[in-house]
Amino acid sequence: MINRRRLLGMAAVGVPAISILRTRSASAQAKEIRVAEDGGVATKAFQSGFVEPFTKKTGVKVTLESPNPLGKLRAMVEAGQTGTVLYTGLGSVNMLAAKRLGLIDPIDWGAVDPAPMYPEAKKDYGFGHQYFSTVMAWNAVVKAPKSWADFFDAKAFPGKRALVDLPQYSLPFALLATGVPVDKLYPLDVNAAFKKLREFKSHVSVWTATTPQGPQLLRDNEVQYAVCSGSRVVGDPALGMTWDHGRLDVGYACIVKTSKPEDRVAAYKLLHEMSLPENQARYAEIFPVTGPNPDLDQYLPKDKLSTYPASKQNKAVQWLENPQWWNENGEAINKKWQEFKLGL
């Protein structure tokens, strides 16, 4: 969902003034590569799902580092840092922002030679390796909403709300609540969405800044309805949730602009491992977020298919984010968002 560990992310971004002297090892083969990823449970999943089979085949070691906010990538590239080759977990909008800012290089798909992938996961600049959902969730004791119109109806569904403090996770839901059908969501009617949010603002008691916040607020009964990351609320008996009309997005792995060529050779081999459905299934076993292989369902336990954000049945009821639109309109909306939050 949002950059994980954003609270700590601030500390991780030092503003570098001097480029570190570049030293290149004499051998053209990388012995070790560095990969930025989400942190937490996702690190364990990444290690077991992708790194272990990769190291077994190639003998190349992988060092994982977290967190992975966009600002850190920018700091790395502008300092000319050559250490990290792969930056994973960039949401679709962030991937295009990184491309616009010149922080990533195109992927050599010939070198990756991937197993089949969904088209939205296979982009020039990004290897979509994780599908994640943002959905509505509620405390199990309150009345269950069926649609976003219900979620935004504080009369029929009384209780406090928590929404995400980022426009791309709030405006589309508000617009769906006004009755706009999913297939007509984009181009987004920004004014109508803000109008809806303004009417509803008094019922929102928390605007969440990090992914774990939403489920925690629900469990503490601090709010009764919240916009949450699907993987974090599914299967929790204390909470209710639905995938219906959830926001499905893809997290991409990207090649860091300043990385070394020999590291890239190894990184492409790692991406190949990440495209294999059996590896994606092992990843999902630890962290319930699924990968881009269209046949992945066959590799997953049947009774758990309803719990994965991008299993065929769940993918069908959600809508896919439109990063292109946000890339073109994001900056203007970000400012409007701040004004909306301040009540201007």
Binding site: N3, R6, L7, G9, M10, V13, G14, V15, P16, A17, I18, P69, L70, G71, K72, R74, A97, L101, D165, L166, S205, V206, W207, T208, A209, D220, N221, E222, G330, E331, N334, K335, Q338, E339, K341, L342, L344
Partner: protein, 318 residues
């Protein structure tokens, strides 16, 4: 050792010692700076044994701290596409958003500081009057939270003040309130959290100043027939005022940069400048804009710091 001729340029700028303070320092032998200086007819010279040992530290500071700050300041004036630009500053002053957030930050900081003073001053005064052992315990209790991570302390407030938290349950059990009181995710929550962090920073210097107040002065005032309130306002309070003013400003400066407390206890509804900067740096990432806002924040902070220095100087020469 660095002596005589090489020190002229260092004297004023690098160490921040102006000729006027040198005079003061030399004139008052109790002041620590006096030991470092000798006066000659030609001017002021440093004899600082072991100054050479400081050079690595100074270099480190310049490279890893000062240079990045200059780089950060420059970011606001440079755009990859257009080269030199004033656009980022233009944006700050054109759109009301950022100045509103800055004003909001200053307002909340002032409130939190005032609350800290209202709680901290009587507390420090009370500790002064305690017996030896009780004094130790009280000071330890004030300092203890100082050693606990801000993050832990801030989350502790959620446990205490949440809808299902200890305080709300107690209030409801006592029948004082019907529905839980919203302590958190608003300005009240942020102010409580900030005050908690600030309190030791204010109480300790205040206590130090109060402990220095000679009891005989108060006794003398009493023997001349002054009622307690007059003694307090005419004798005791003026003696602690410089320390109070300096501590208050220091607390205020700290407040301006608060990040964790508003992020956790504000629930995204209390915009403060550090949190807006975080979004601009890490999420968007619009560093030019962030740089312009940071610079303005730095200027505001330096202004307050200048006032602090003024007060501090008058205090130390008294």
């Amino acid at each position: 050792m660095l002596a005589g001729s090489r020190s002229d340029s260092l004297k004023d700028s690098s160490l921040g010692v102006s000729p006027s303070t040198v005079h003061q320092a030399v004139a008052s032998p109790s002041c620590g700076e006096g030991a470092l200086l000798v006066t000659r007819s030609s001017g002021y010279h440093f004899i600082v044994p072991g100054f050479g040992f400081l050079i690595p530290l100074l270099l480190l500071m310049v490279v890893v701290f000062d240079a990045p700050i200059v780089y950060m300041l420059a970011l606001a004036f440079w755009d990859k596409a257009q080269g030199f630009t004033l656009g980022y500053y233009g944006d700050v002053f054109e759109a009301p958003v950022y100045l509103r957030v800055l004003a909001n930050t200053v307002r909340i900081s002032v409130v939190a500081t005032i609350v800290s003073v209202i709680i901290g001053y009587p507390l420090a005064h009370w500790i002064r009057g305690l017996g030896r052992r009780a004094k130790m315990v009280a000071l330890a209790l004030v300092v203890l939270p100082f050693w606990v991570s801000v993050l832990v302390r801030t989350y502790a407030w959620i446990v205490l003040l949440g809808n299902d938290g200890l305080v709300n349950r107690a209030l409801q059990w006592l029948g004082l309130v019907q529905a839980p009181v919203s302590f958190l995710y608003n300005e009240l929550g942020v102010t409580i959290g900030m005050t908690n962090v600030l309190l030791p920073l204010l109480v300790l210097p205040l206590y130090a100043a109060m402990a220095r107040v000679d009891d005989r002065l108060l006794q003398a005032a009493a023997s001349l027939g002054a009622p307690p309130s007059t003694i307090f306002w005419k004798v005791y309070f003026p003696l602690t005022l410089p320390s109070l003013a300096a501590g208050t400003l220091l607390a205020l400066i700290l407040c301006l940069g608060f990040y964790i407390t508003p992020a956790i206890l504000g629930g995204g509804r209390v915009p403060m400048i550090s949190n807006v900067l975080d979004t601009l740096i890490n999420v968007y990432p619009n560093w030019g804009q962030a740089s312009a806002i940071s610079t303005i924040l730095l200027v505001v902070t330096l202004l307050i710091f200048a006032i602090y220095r003024r007060i501090d100087q008058t205090t130390s020469t008294k």
